[in-house]
Symmetry: C3
Subunit: 166 residues, 3 copies
Amino acid sequence: MATAVGGGTLRDVMLERSPFWMTQWEYLGVVALSLAIFIVFHKWIQKIASTLFIFDTIGLALFTVVGYEKTIDAGFPFWTAWLMGMSTGAAGGVIRDILINEVPLIFRHDIYALACLVGGLVYTVGMWLGLSDIISQLGCAVSVILVRVFAVRYHWQLPTLRDEES
Amino acid sequence: MATAVGGGTLRDVMLERSPFWMTQWEYLGVVALSLAIFIVFHKWIQKIASTLFIFDTIGLALFTVVGYEKTIDAGFPFWTAWLMGMSTGAAGGVIRDILINEVPLIFRHDIYALACLVGGLVYTVGMWLGLSDIISQLGCAVSVILVRVFAVRYHWQLPTLRDEES
Amino acid sequence: MATAVGGGTLRDVMLERSPFWMTQWEYLGVVALSLAIFIVFHKWIQKIASTLFIFDTIGLALFTVVGYEKTIDAGFPFWTAWLMGMSTGAAGGVIRDILINEVPLIFRHDIYALACLVGGLVYTVGMWLGLSDIISQLGCAVSVILVRVFAVRYHWQLPTLRDEES
């Protein structure tokens, strides 16, 4: 539940709203249903774990689009929308990792958050070019998916700084 | 302080309010007084630790009632009130455990949060039956206390999923 | 970025505002610029790390003044302003330490947060004496810096409670 709605909750609190899941029960209903399905089929699901990657990536893309759109609708500038798109998509996993006391995965596989930023950039360029909303949103979602798929496929990593003395 | 006011702070931020302790000094006054008492009497208090369990449980029950009531007053649906009652009661301990870098106790002894949910359910049923507020609140508080006391006494545990391969 | 804007974000959410950095790009611009400078000069910067202490301390003092002022402007009482000054100054580092999964430094070197509280107290006394805003602010900033410098120089530590049995 923290993974699914945590990022959007953080975004809504920053946008001075009550979290989206507090007024419509469907969101938590889907989380509960997913959990029930996982409990029943968990052995089978763990066997196909690698094929779940594409669902995770599609989810990331959709969350980025929703986060971007809500932030623009609330009257904030485009670069805030990039960060809120990233927050919606990636912060749920960070909250999950904090709760289970591990270093957030996102700090080890940085291309996750970066894909959201690239998607936000594409959205902004689309709007600047005067494209329709739906085209900009599609462009955003597709670029999130492409960046993430290529990053995993070609093992792209963000460079890290290391102390050379240590 | 994080344990005492953390859960209610999270609830108030989600309900789009400033945290309750920011306008009335009595809340933090009680926290400071408790800390002072603990510092002076800590050896003695640690000896009676097991008898503190009932105070912790009464606190959990009261926090659940307050969280439920504030959420309904703010116009949110009943199931949001369940979650906010749980947040008020149990999230303070989660924040404390994150701050001291441990896996939150609540993930190991799940009956804590579940007791709040049962209490919320009783509150809702009481309201549906047209009982007076005070009766519903009492029913909520008593059921939180009973669930927790029975859970500890009879070692109730939520089931966990394990990889059978590992 | 979490260290730089995290404390102020927490403060703004509690004051029922959207975080300060969401509407003016200059804040994140400075963070990005600092990061770029660090990446280019990191070997040299690590050599002069001890001289960075004074910048950190000046930052802490300024953050305390800003946090205090914003809280008073939002109509909250003076002791809330102490806590929000402390949050603005010290909570960024706590968020950073939670994210990298370490026990927050602040719990091991408590004089950091305490310096903010002393600064807030000086601010309040200045206002009570009818001094001008700028004098109270200077007094606040100077006392934060002095407390921190003396604490480090003379190894002041807050007392800790230990179980004598263990």
